[in-house]
């Protein structure tokens, strides 16, 4: 039960990124923030320690048995009281000025900052790097200013990277910008370690990569935590992502290339990957009796669906495509119209991959639609073209 407490020593050794007092300082902003923190801490201690000593000393020194009389009748001392009103004010002004200075310095992003469009949703993050490269992880380049333009599709979220000392609420109905400049890289782990982690992952049978366990991303990079800091419902605490700071622009480019196309990966396999990366998995399980926020994908394809308005619809390719792009058009009976639209976020090829994946989850996947099988081949041919030109993707 108290294993965490007792293993603390070894745990800290294993996980050097998390220091006892503060996380690593990994942005230009962190040192200033921590410096201000220490300043306030020392000022506070300078007030607290004498007060605490007096709080202990007076009751001991002036303790008297019942019936004792106070040895002083002083009721006030104006000079003293004015002093202890004004002296704290001076320190408060210092704190205010330094805190605001540090904040205003960081208020406007510099010219030429690299832009990443962030979408926060229940319960995940999606970073749009442009040209159809969309991924839940935030990848940036060392010492390069990065501007994150944020929006939320549902409720309030908050973008929080402790290592950067940065927090910004994401407000639905507004675009809000945050920016930072990372000063510490998160390097790629050694090949042996990476392979060991991949093997362990394979062995564990986990569907989703366990970042905390392996202390690396599925691509083998170390990372900084990215949390949602504004309460947003059921899986608020699971709404985490990971920040990778590449040492060079080339390394970043390479990673973007890797995620932005399906390449040679078969449709269904890529669909399964998207199912996890785009967090379909957050609301739709792939198991028979596990109903989350939305319907399970198990035995969805090829089955008749009862809609909330009483209509019955066959879950075919077009139905699934419509449900992804315009989720509120047809809502299955017993569910809330909560799903955000993925219009512009998933390319035709991505949708085809997801449909292919759903077919593998359905016992009618092979038989229901011969036409779809033919489409598979066609879609595979079009894959590269589609990846480069997603549906209405990122016109900017």
């Amino acid at each position: 039960m108290f294993d965490g407490l007792f293993l603390r020593g070894s745990h800290l050794l294993a996980d050097t990124a998390h220091h006892l007092w503060f996380p690593e300082q990994a942005s230009t902003y962190a040192a200033e923030s921590d410096g201000t923190y220490s300043m306030i801490l020392w000022i506070s201690l300078a007030f607290f320690i004498p007060l605490a000593i007096l709080m202990v000393y007076f009751p001991i020194k002036y303790y008297q048995r019942k019936g004792g009389k106070a040895t002083s009748r002083v009721t006030h001392h104006n000079v003293l009281e004015v002093t202890w009103t004004i002296v704290p004010c001076i320190f408060l002004v210092i704190m205010f000025v330094r805190g605001s200075w540090g904040y205003l310095d960081m208020a406007t992003p510099p010219e030429g900052a690299k832009q990443v469009d962030l979408t926060a949703f229940k319960w995940g993050w999606s970073m749009n790097y442009g040209k159809g490269a969309i991924h839940p992880e935030l990848h940036v380049v060392l010492n390069q200013p990065t501007k994150v333009v944020m929006r939320s599709t549902d409720v309030l979220h908050s973008f929080f990277i402790p290592a950067f000392r940065l927090k910004q609420d994401v407000v639905p109905g507004r675009y809000i910008t945050a920016w930072f400049q990372a000063t510490t890289p998160t390097p790629k782990v050694s090949q042996e370690e990476y392979e060991a982690a991949l093997a362990a992952h394979e062995e564990s049978g986990d569907e989703v990569w366990d970042y905390d366990r392996y202390q690396m991303t599925p691509d083998g990079y170390r990372y900084f935590d990215l949390f949602c800091a504004e309460y947003c419902g059921r899986d608020h605490s699971a709404m985490q992502s990971y920040v990778v700071v590449h040492e060079t622009q080339e390394s970043w480019d390479e990673w973007i290339r890797k995620i932005s196309s399906r390449g040679e990966t078969p449709l269904a396999e890529y669909g399964e990957k998207l199912y996890q990366l785009r967090n379909c998995i957050g609301c739709h399980s792939n198991e028979p009796n596990n109903i989350l926020v939305g319907p399970t994908f198990h035995n969805l394809y090829g089955y008749e669906r009862q809609m909330a308005d009483g209509e019955t619809v066959l879950a075919d390719e077009q139905y699934i495509r419509e449900s992804i792009l315009d989720p509120k058009a047809k809502v299955v009976m017993g569910f809330q119209p909560q799903m955000p639209s993925f219009k512009g976020q998933l390319s035709d090829d991505d949708i085809a991959s997801l449909i292919a994946y759903m077919k593998t989850l359905s016992d009618r996947g092979e038989t229901a639609s011969e036409a779809a099988l033919d489409d598979d081949a066609a879609a595979a041919d079009d894959a590269d073209a589609a990846a480069a030109q997603p549906v209405e993707a990122i016109a900017n």
Binding site: G4, L51, Y62, H76, F96, G99
Partner: protein
Amino acid sequence: MTTGAATAPGGVRDAGFVSDNENYLKNSSGVLSWMFTLDHKRIGIMYLVGILTSFLGGGLLAMVIRYHLMAPGGATTISNDAYNQLFTLHGAIMVFLFIIPSIPAALGNFLVPVMLGAKDVAFPRLNLSSFYLWVGGAIFFVGALLMNGLDTGWTFYTPYSTSTDTSVVMATFGAFILGFSSIFTGLNFIVTINTMRPPGMTWFRMPLFLWATYATSIIQVLATPVLGITLLLLIAENVMHIGIFDPEFNGDPVTYQHFFWFYSHPAVYIMILPAFGIISELISVHSHKGIFGYRFIAYSSIALALLSFLVWGHHMFTSGMSSVTVVIFSALTFTVSVPSAIKVFNWVATMYKGAISLTTPMCYALAFLFLFTIGGLTGLFLGTISTDLHLHDTYFVVAHFHYVMMGGTVVSFVGGLFHWWPKMTGKMFNEAGGRISALIVFVGFNLTFLPQFLLGNQGMPRRYATYDPEFQWLHQLSSIGAFTLGIGLLVAGLVLLHSLYAGRQAPANPWGGATLEWHCTSPPPFYNFKHAPVVGDPYEFANVHYDEATDNYVFTELPRTLVPEEPVKTPTPAGGQS
């Protein structure tokens, strides 16, 4: 009148003991005599029972929460949804049902008229109705819990609160009703204190508890209507989609936050100001020395009441307000820390050269001083913008407001309860047991919340049902502390309950206080005072003497001196210099 009281029984004033048919607890009996009572003391006792029940409920929820957080994935089988409901109910019950009414409604109702030497508050029927409004609000809250639960956090932030399936409308309606209870209580106290002070009690001869209550009442009357408006708008948005808070209907969630904190920040001072009042009484009485810097403390209560209306924006530094707004709110926020600092210095100075009795109430008051100072100082990290951007919405905030609200308000409430318990019930409690409870509470409290500052530094966000493994050891320390704290409060409760049937009968003035409540019997007669008493300085202890035979403090006449003692021989010329 030169010798001590015990040796000069002739000139001693002591209220003695109350007869059964005048004792407010016994002068009538039966459930109806309580339900329809207009006696402020009985209403205070009914509030006390209701509030302590809420505290027990909210406290047990906290224990479940802390138990769940023993393991990163959750130490219990509680689902994330259930966890979210747990912390929401813990917060909502503690804030709306316990802390806001705790000191003003329970202790205040009992004490304000007695301290004024009055027979009752100005509007006894309004007083009773405010109690039933509290009961009504509580029923709505508990009803919301039993129907669909509530999972929005106690802040009801939109658009989450307009999109969740849980009983938001019912719970907010409960909070709306509770708001009226709070307004009526505040209104009653303002009128009572303004109009019913006895002969001799000028504004600056009021006990500081009354100053604090007065300041609190001002906030209750001015700020709570804004909460009512906000909650009504929220209900309207939920039911009719009027488009004010929900972006789906062209509303703006940040507007809701402004509305909400415009009430809820002053509400923080509704919670803490009465605690300041209690501490001023406790430190002075148990040091048997006049309060140091009476006027500074009194003025700082009023200053806090007014400044508290100007600083709501510091809850929203990361919400996307403009940089200028953020900087302005940061500056205003720092101003509000000055009056609190003044009070702490004055309390510590009060103990200097006093005659300190380490009674249970004094032990709690000392615990308060220590905990509230930490709570106040850690607020500086949150008022400073650059550090707040890191600490906002993390466990640092959780620790900070628990140090202020629990280490401050709850500890002083418990201290005040021990202090006035003999007066309220006529029974003395076991001193050793009370002191032990104060010690356990103090140790448990620090063990619970100091690790949470570290968690916040490291970036652990609040309201998380599960967390990353590296935070586990601090969470476990905190949980162990929480259980210790729970045991400490349990001991305190048992000591008080034990006194009810095994306690020695309390004398009129067991601690040596000089304010009016110590001039009437314990418990007071239903009419409090036969005649309106004439009062002087509430912190004059020269004529309060200990009588060992009865373990009681008695009053002697103050030695009177002619003023001026000798006629001034050469009158100062008008406007002249000395």
